[in-house]
């Protein structure tokens, strides 16, 4: 079965420092991977996706993610964190055998301290 793991419940980073939010996946076949962000009392907002091609994917708000097939990882990164990046981040993989639905990680709370 397809699955997604976000091993860290919370990540703390000082403003201006680089940040990484980790995601690993397990799929049969090609992985189609997504990152979403959720601000308090808001729905999920799409950040970026990996479908095929370059392993480094650039997305909204200066975020990027690195696809690593050998490590089955899709970590979210940003070179310089902002306090406004503090939010809940979700990784998801599209489950082709299960009607193409998205399989979600449990989420990682990112806290950026001034």
């Amino acid at each position: 079965a397809q699955s997604v793991a976000q091993p860290e419940d919370q990540v703390n980073v000082a403003e201006g420092n680089p940040l990484t939010v980790k995601c690993t996946y397990s799929v049969s076949g090609n992985p189609y991977l997504f990152w979403y962000v959720q601000y308090p009392n808001r729905g999920l907002q799409f950040l970026l996706k990996y479908i095929t091609g370059d392993n480094l994917v650039k997305g909204s708000y200066g975020f990027e993610a690195e696809f690593n097939k050998s490590q089955t990882s899709f970590h979210l990164k940003k070179p310089s964190a902002l306090v406004s990046d503090s939010a809940l981040y979700f990784c998801a993989v599209r489950d082709i055998p299960s009607n193409y639905q998205l399989i979600w990680g449990a989420g990682t709370k990112l806290i950026i301290k001034p």
Partner: protein, 116 residues
Amino acid sequence: EAGVAQSPRYKIIEKRQSVAFWCNPISGHATLYWYQQILGQGPKLLIQFQNNGVVDDSQLPKDRFSAERLKGVDSTLKIQPAKLEDSAVYLCASSLGQGEVSTEAFFGQGTRLTVV
């Protein structure tokens, strides 16, 4: 481009009462999803529609939850009777269509339901 619209934003009801949520997806999106999100957890798919047909409702508690998308556009999700454990945010999302592996889902702002 207008996003996914949901209403109401907030709802407080007593247990055993009924409640309904409404969703209007992005125009042209054939696939519509209803998710339940418990505080601090990832979204849990309740039901997935492709146009007006149900693709997946395996995690929908059918004894109390129902959903419809009669004309393949708007959708309603109903809970009757509500239980305390139904307190959650109910998210509606839409995407272009089943089989579109590369398209992301777009989410509404959600309805926060509190059952007391």
